[in-house]
């Protein structure tokens, strides 16, 4: 016994000594700011959509907006942000996202095939008792990425499954994971996604299971409340975590936040809601333009996605026509067909960009969700949406006052008013113009400073490019299934070589024709899949992560992404 005790003690000791330097380091970097008073001086303050103060000043103290106006006494101990010619907005609120929420690790366990029809709730994606709050991670990349774009709060929900858990409103900043939470248990997050390989596997399974669970919960809740009022002579209610977690939904105290990207999913969710009657908000809607009347009829607020298909400029196509008119006589049938298909595709793409404008003009309450938009595309997409019919004021509302209102946060955030939380964006010029860049973001009164993009990024000329050397783990999605492997790149820019391993046939192949252009690295390799095929890889490297494509002539190109293994 004693021996074990001492062993235990020494293990603890080793752990502690191991941790010491880490703790010290993290304290170093987290020095308390010298003051909690800030003054943003001489700025154009957009207090709320359509309400602007010129040459205004904002006083922040201990995370609260103490004063806003043009005649404010500046305390001596305040840190002054000289915001001449700058614009200040209320911090953005993401209506629905996974910002700051850890992804659950995928289990490597093989399923018992005998149980595919009756898996555990966990395996089936039914975890309504989970909460985003328990999964927060302040150092998750998404927190910094979206804060940099002006987001200061987010309605964040857990990942995966048909009922992943409850959402919480969090701040994109704070001292600890728990410090991020502003309002917990704000929604029951739901999606129409099936569990891989087990019940419910398909959308029909998910819809049926949702009905079954909801009605079971409703029945169990009634019985429980009878039992609570007088248990005498009654059979004890059967404890059931999943059903109990749904009680607030059944009693309509908690709103269901349903992800519905496609028009079909929107209609399905509406049908389900009509069946069951829960309170609902729709999130990450990408294709809702034809569903506006149906959405309106439900009265549910909506969070529109900003993950939009790539905008294709039309001028190019027209130019081509002029040329061919001059040069040749008549276009071939195939050219005409291709042209027609392209025009249809462009019309379709345009729908995605005009959607927000249509929701606005139809009077549907909406904000924006940021589940799938890549942070690097957010601003460009937003500006394009404004170009396509959403007024900048409405856009600002959809990022501030509307989500605040929908999520019940209006008394706390969404506008720049005395007493509200100091969540602010300082932009070097009007935010909804092309050249604007964010200089400061305040989250709960804490200042984050950013460099403007004044100094143009050095254009990468010949020979100069991103450092691609290292070991990169990648995954890719192809019609043949998901693939993965390792890309090893050695050498220096201009002289790279290496290998790529491919899970499809367990091979490792030499890479060839490595080219670097700015942050893009491309190469090809030969893969033997019965016959030899050439595969082209293009990687857009951003730090230690990349997104790119894997292309095989004739089969098309497929998305891939990955990250660089840390250098030890």
């Amino acid at each position: 016994m004693r021996k074990r005790d001492s062993l235990f003690r020494s293990v603890i000791l080793i752990m502690l000594t191991g941790l010491m330097p880490l703790i010290g380091w993290s304290q170093d970097s987290d020095l308390k700011p010298v003051t909690s008073k800030y003054v943003i001086k001489n700025a154009t303050i957009v207090q709320a959509p359509g309400k602007t103060i010129q040459y205004g000043t904002i006083l922040i103290e201990n995370g609260i907006i103490k004063a806003v106006g043009s005649n404010i006494t500046i305390p001596a101990d305040a840190w002054i942000v000289d915001a001449d010619s700058m614009f200040v907005y209320a911090g953005f609120i993401s209506g629905l996202s996974n910002i700051g929420v850890k992804k659950p690790e995928e289990s490597e366990e093989r399923d018992d095939r005998k149980l595919t029809g009756n898996p555990s709730n966990e395996r089936a994606g039914i975890t309504p008792g989970n909460s985003a709050r328990e999964m927060l991670n302040l150092s998750d990349k998404s927190v910094g990425d979206f804060r940099k774009l002006g987001f200061t709060a987010s309605h964040s929900v857990p990942h995966n499954g048909m009922l992943p858990g409850t959402g919480a409103v969090i701040l994109l900043g704070g001292d600890s994971n728990q410090d991020m939470v502003v309002k917990d248990q704000i929604s029951m997050y739901s999606q129409l996604s099936g569990a891989n390989g087990v019940y419910p596997n398909t959308v029909i399974g998910v819809m049926a299971k949702y009905r079954d669970l909801y009605r079971k919960a409703s029945q169990a809740k009634d019985y429980q409340s009878k039992y609570n009022s007088n248990p005498n002579g009654m059979e004890r209610p059967e404890p059931n975590l999943a059903l109990e977690a749904l009680y607030p939904v059944v009693s309509k105290q908690m709103t269901v936040a349903f992800k519905a990207e496609s028009v079909k999913d929107v209609m399905r969710v509406i049908a389900l809601q009509r069946d069951l009657g829960f309170n609902m908000m729709l999130g990450e809607v990408k294709q809702g333009w034809d569903a506006i009347p149906a959405i309106k009829a439900t009265g549910a607020p909506v969070f529109l996605s900003l993950d939009l298909p790539e905008w294709k400029e039309e001028e190019k196509a027209e130019k081509k026509d002029d040329e061919s008119d001059e040069k040749e006589s008549d276009p071939t049938e195939a050219e005409l067909e291709e042209q027609a298909l392209k025009e249809r595709q462009n019309t379709m793409i345009k729908n995605y960009y005009t959607q927000a404008g249509k929701f606005s003009s139809n009077g549907v309450k909406f904000g924006f969700s940021t589940m799938e938009v890549k942070s690097k595309d957010f601003r460009a997409n937003l500006l394009k949406v404004i170009e396509n019919g959403l007024s900048p004021d409405k856009a600002l509302a959809a990022l501030t006052t509307e989500p605040a209102n929908i999520l019940g946060l209006s008394s706390m955030m969404g506008t720049i008013e005395t007493g509200k939380m100091a969540n602010l964006i300082v932009s070097d010029t009007a935010y909804f113009t092309k050249d604007a860049s964010i200089r400061y973001v305040f989250v709960d009164g804490v200042k984050y400073e950013y460099e403007g993009k004044k100094k143009k990024k050095k254009k990468n000329g010949d020979g100069e490019g991103v450092d691609a050397a290292g070991v990169w783990n990648y995954t890719t999605e192809t019609p043949q299934g998901n693939g993965s492997g390792v890309i090893t790149i050695k050498g220096t820019p201009g002289d790279y070589s290496g290998t790529i391993s491919v899970s499809f046939n367990d091979s490792t192949n030499e890479i060839e024709n490595v080219e670097v252009d700015g942050n893009n690295v491309s190469f090809s390799f030969k893969l033997n899949m019965g016959e030899e095929i050439t595969v082209d890889i293009s990687m857009d490297i951003d730090g230690d992560a990349f997104e790119g494509t894997l292309s095989v002539a004739a089969f098309g190109s497929f998305p891939m992404e990955g990250s660089r293994e840390p250098n030890n």
């Binding site: 596997n201 398909t202 029909i204 049926a208 079971k216 029945q219 298909p309 249809r344 379709m348």
Partner: protein, 450 residues
């Protein structure tokens, strides 16, 4: 370029016209194949607000109604396909041998361009079915091909009876028996799965009856039976509220299911495929079960070798309500040929052959009082052909659903997709075609990585 713009203008008009669900149209001077009331030469059919209001001579169109000159053409009821997997985003919930609670009506895909292709074959209604992976599969949905509507709700044939898919033989035993090592592994196992499911449903109903009888007594403190959507659905079958449509091939198992249904008092039963139906035709007739068959498609797996092109005719002559179905996005485009094949082989009359794709499938789906023949008061679903629909020269010209023209051969734009993929790579070369047979869709994962 002009040509393209013209196409777009046409497309826009079509989309606009399609925005209404019910229309009025006068079809003039056609040869009207009523199916239930003989053939009427040089006759008009007037559809008003989606319903056939008059069949006769010299009718005039109400104001605003479109007139179609059908002189020299054949006007028949819209074709009905009693077995299809078109326009569905999910076909099989293949994870359990019994999934009565799932419903393909939840996965309708009104954007499927296959609907338009089916309209181009004169089809106006179809039975969108769950697949055959499970002994007791999911509930199906009877749809109308109102192509152009985005709301799946508008695809449903509202008021049509509920139906459910059952499956016997190789498919469920392969998926669950060989695939997952559970019951059913054999045909006996399939019977047992069905019997025990019905038995559980019976007990569930009884438990609820007992509870409901007592619950109003103030002193009663008992617990209600736990709600279960699967058992609720099975109970609805026992109550006669859902028609069983059972995937089946062999005579012995067809006979088996009739015995099971008799034991549980189930009367509404239609067999699908039924390749050996001809062996038990009198028994099927006596039970009152329907049979929905292929004209001449077989030998795609072991249990489908004993087949004959006389199947539909033998069943018909034995008094079985028989239909010919497609089970395929390709076959659905020429069901009139399939009916003609059965006629050619088995010597059926024109009306008998046309019944196979109109009034008989309507009876099997419980919608014969609304569609399936050209009669005053029925819904305005019409297919107009150049040449007799049972002729090898038949060409579908116009297809009308609820009085709205949904397909017009004279005005048939090249691109009828409703929601083109914004990210698809545009390539006018055709690389590969999708497999048409979707009976076992969504089960692929069970057969890989093993």
């Amino acid at each position: 370029m002009k040509k393209i713009h013209l196409i777009f203008a046409l497309l826009l008009t079509i989309t606009f016209v399609m925005a209404q669900e019910k229309g009025s149209v006068l079809i003039k001077s056609g040869t009207v194949l009523t199916v239930t009331n003989g053939t009427l030469e040089d006759t008009d059919v007037l559809i008003r607000d989606g319903k056939i209001s008059k069949i006769g001579k010299g009718l005039s169109a109400p104001s605003g109604a479109k007139t179609i000159d059908a002189t020299g053409m054949f006007v028949m009821p819209g074709i009905i396909d009693a077995h299809s997997h078109l326009a569905l985003d999910a076909v099989n919930e293949a994870t359990n041998p019994v999934t009565a609670e799932v419903w393909v009506g939840d996965a309708l895909d009104p954007l499927d361009v296959g609907i338009y292709q089916a309209l181009a074959g004169g089809v106006t209604s179809a039975h969108a079915m769950h697949g055959s992976a499970n002994a007791i599969g999911g509930q199906c949905e009877t749809v109308k091909f109102r192509y152009g509507e985005i709301d799946p709700e508008k695809m449903r044939m509202a008021g049509a009876p509920r139906t459910i898919k059952f499956a016997l033989g190789e498919n469920p035993t392969r998926v669950h028996g060989s695939g997952n090592g559970i019951q059913p592994r054999t045909r006996m196992g399939v019977e047992h799965v069905i019997r025990s499911s019905f038995q559980k449903a019976k007990e569930y109903m009884k438990a609820w009856d007992t509870y409901n009888a007592k619950k109003n007594d103030k002193r009663f403190k008992g617990k209600a039976p736990a709600y279960d959507l699967r058992l609720e659905t099975l109970a609805d079958i026992l109550r006669g509220n859902i028609i069983i449509h059972c995937h089946s091939y062999r005579a012995d198992e067809i006979y088996m299911l009739m015995q099971v249904c008799k034991d549980f008092g189930i009367e509404r039963l239609v067999f699908q495929h039924v390749n050996e139906g001809f062996k038990v035709a009198p028994e099927l007739a006596k039970f009152g079960a329907g049979a929905s068959v292929f004209a001449d498609w077989w030998a795609y797996k072991f249990e489908v070798y004993y087949s004959t092109a006389y199947n539909a005719a033998i069943l018909t002559k034995n008094g079985v309500t028989t239909s010919i179905n497609s089970d395929s996005g390709e076959l659905i485009r020429h069901l009139y040929h399939e009916a003609a094949k059965s006629q050619k082989y088995g010597g059926l009359s024109d009306d008998e052959a046309l019944s196979l794709i109109t009034i008989n499938p309507a009876k099997q789906l419980g919608i014969a009082d609304r569609v399936g023949s050209l009669e005053e008061g029925k819904e305005g679903d019409v297919a107009i052909f150049k040449n007799h629909p049972l002729s090898i020269y038949a060409i579908p010209m116009l297809t009308v659903v609820d009085g709205v023209v949904r397909f017009d051969r004279e005005n048939d734009p090249a691109d009828m997709r409703l929601y083109p993929d914004p990210e698809e790579k545009i390539d006018v070369t055709f690389w590969e075609a999708e497999d048409h047979d979707r009976c076992m869709a969504n089960t692929e994962f069970l057969f890989t990585d093993k």
